[in-house]
């Protein structure tokens, strides 16, 4: 239903919308404070115009972060290394398969590295994707040192002229010191081969994640300089609102969204499409 004037109830409705989408209290209050200012400044009288103002505030917040996205330079003869990290079960391995397919479709020569040597059958999982996509997978045995398989992967990328090297890593909670240190080590191994590697460090966040997502982003950024974020599982009912908090506090660009389990279910992140589909879509009642 539509409210006919701008009252506290309208702000309460908007607050409910934002909090229930996991934006968190701080980000929500900031957006709504900005909205109040704008309503005063621009003498907005209609609830519909207030909603439109909020919509543009939300898009602007995400666009600020999107602008930080580095231009990807793919050089012939130098493997472009993408290191994929995140907490357990967010969708890293599946996102790697999706990115492999994407780069393949761009005519690039892709290789995968099974850097998760810890989780049961993580190597098999990546190999299944490799077979389906007809992409080589560099792997060691379960339990092997991830640094060693990454080392081999880098060498293989040179030997076989790979344009894109996608490196899977084990899921790890950002609170585990040793596991976060291991990521730094993996980075160093890469840099012994290619100084600018990894050219992309992709943090995969699960869209259903609540406020912990912000801490995840901070801690992974501290450890390995995240360049891009992917939000996986946006095909569910969760709206991934923690992306706003991350954009606001860290300015890390959201680059991709995952929208399903199939290899084609990956899209480039677009702030306008995202905000419209998940917050101001037709089915969304305010």
């Amino acid at each position: 239903f539509e409210r006919s004037e701008i009252t506290e109830d309208l702000f309460e409705d908007l607050e409910a919308l934002l909090i229930q989408a996991d934006l968190g209290v701080e980000t929500t209050l900031e957006l709504l404070d900005n909205l109040r200012d704008r309503i005063d400044r621009e003498r907005i009288k209609q609830p519909a115009d207030a909603r439109e103002a909020l919509r543009t505030e939300m898009i602007a917040l995400l666009e600020n972060a999107t602008r930080n996205r580095k231009i990807k330079i793919y050089q012939r003869g130098v493997p472009f290394v993408i290191l994929v990290v995140g907490v357990n079960g967010t969708g890293k391995t599946t996102t790697i398969a999706k990115l492999a397919k994407y780069h393949q479709d761009q005519g690039r020569n892709v290789m995968l590295v099974a850097g998760d040597t810890f989780r049961a059958a993580a190597i098999d999982q990546l190999k299944v994707w490799g077979e389906r996509l007809k992409v080589p997978v560099i792997a060691h045995d379960p339990g092997a040192d991830p640094g060693a398989v990454v080392f081999d992967g880098m060498q293989a990328a040179y030997n076989r002229n790979a344009d894109i090297l996608l490196v899977d890593t084990a899921g790890r909670l950002h609170t585990k010191y040793n596991l976060m240190e291991e990521l730094k080590k993996i980075r160093k191994v890469m840099q012994r081969h290619v100084a600018e590697a990894p050219q992309e460090v992709l943090l995969v966040i699960d869209a259903t994640t609540g406020q912990n997502g912000l801490v995840q982003a901070k801690k992974f950024a501290e450890a390995v300089e995240i360049t891009d974020i992917a939000i996986a599982k946006l095909d569910g009912t969760a709206r991934g609102g923690i992306a706003f908090a991350i954009a606001r506090e860290l300015g890390t660009p959201i680059s991709y969204v995952g929208t399903g389990e199939q290899v084609t279910a990956l899209a480039e992140f677009n702030p306008v499409t995202y905000v419209d589909a998940l917050f101001f879509g037709e089915e969304e009642e305010l």
Binding site: D22, G24, A120, G171, G210, Q211, G236, E261
Partner: protein, 296 residues
């Protein structure tokens, strides 16, 4: 974000403390802090609303107005009420009078189902039971290998028919095999699914109809945000859940989702996952989770 609820409440009451007597407005201000703390812990918006109004009623009605340290008093009311919702007593896995006990795990993708099937099987084995694990996820790449690898680590057999078979048939056949061979607990690992994925939800309903599990456990990630309630409600509506497993509690997520789920579906939390290793599973203590949600 880094101030504790206790600090914030103390500040509230210090501001108003020397007026002598607390008014309802003072209590309201305290309740705003409680509300914020719960929202930051990912407790669902609507659950928070009802919860805060219950706490408020108690706070206005009795102790706080007279208490010497109103901040601590409010916190203790909040804790009490949290524990009430979380369930005061530990509810163990219900074992069938006539074995085999059939346990099925369900949940969203990546929540920790397969890992927890193995963790629970390992616990049961240590109690002297004979568990059989069932690979009924035929979709996720290498899901069967994953369960088999875990089975190898704990020396518990895995029933599988590969990826071409139908999960309903796999489950049925596994239960029959368990009866024939004297396995006492059958643990069925199902594929991750979204609660809005109609064909997949129908599939899991059919598995449940076919084998009539004694326990249907929803496996939920402690990091889940506001949607936890909708997910749990829908799984509960379709399957009549009997319990909850809260995973990845070894991180720093507050785990407010558990409170939300507990309060909307009312089933007990049966296990807590505290790590990736097979023995990283613990019984659930409501008071510990209450403190954690409050950041204490």
């Amino acid at each position: 974000m880094f101030e504790t609820l206790s600090d914030r409440l103390t500040a509230v009451f210090q501001r108003i403390g020397n007026k002598g007597r607390l008014t309802e407005q003072d209590v309201d201000e305290a309740m705003r802090e409680v509300r914020r703390a719960l929202l930051e812990a990912d407790v669902n918006y609507k659950v928070v609303r009802d919860f805060v109004s219950a706490v408020r009623e108690r706070a206005v009605g009795e102790e706080v107005l007279k208490a010497l340290t109103p901040a601590q008093q409010v916190i203790s009311i909040v804790r009490d009420e949290l524990i009430k919702i979380l369930g005061e007593e530990r509810v163990p896995l219900q074992l069938a009078q006539v074995p085999p006990t059939i346990v099925m795990v369900v949940g969203l993708q990546g929540s920790g189902k397969t890992t927890h099937v193995a963790k629970i099987a390992n616990l049961l084995k240590k109690e002297g039971r004979r568990p059989l694990m069932v690979a009924a996820d035929v979709y996720r790449p290498a899901a069967i290998d994953q369960l088999q690898t875990l089975g190898g680590q704990i020396d518990v057999p895995v029933y599988s028919e590969g990826t071409k078979a139908n999960p309903v048939d796999i489950a049925k056949n596994a239960v029959k095999l368990a009866r024939d061979r004297g396995y006492t607990v059958v643990l069925i690992d199902t594929a991750g699914r979204l609660q809005i994925d109609e064909p997949m939800m129908q599939e899991v309903e059919r598995i449940a109809e076919a084998v009539k599990p004694h326990e249907i456990l929803l496996v939920a990630d402690a990091m889940t945000g506001q949607e936890a309630v909708n997910v749990a409600q829908e799984f509960h509506r379709r399957l009549a859940l009997t319990g909850l497993v809260l995973t990845k509690m070894d991180g720093d997520a507050r785990g407010g989702a558990a409170l939300s789920i507990r309060s909307v579906v009312g089933v007990p939390i049966k296990y807590i996952g505290t790590g990736e290793r097979i023995d990283a599973v613990e019984p659930f203590y409501p008071d510990r989770l209450a403190s954690r949600i409050l950041g204490m």
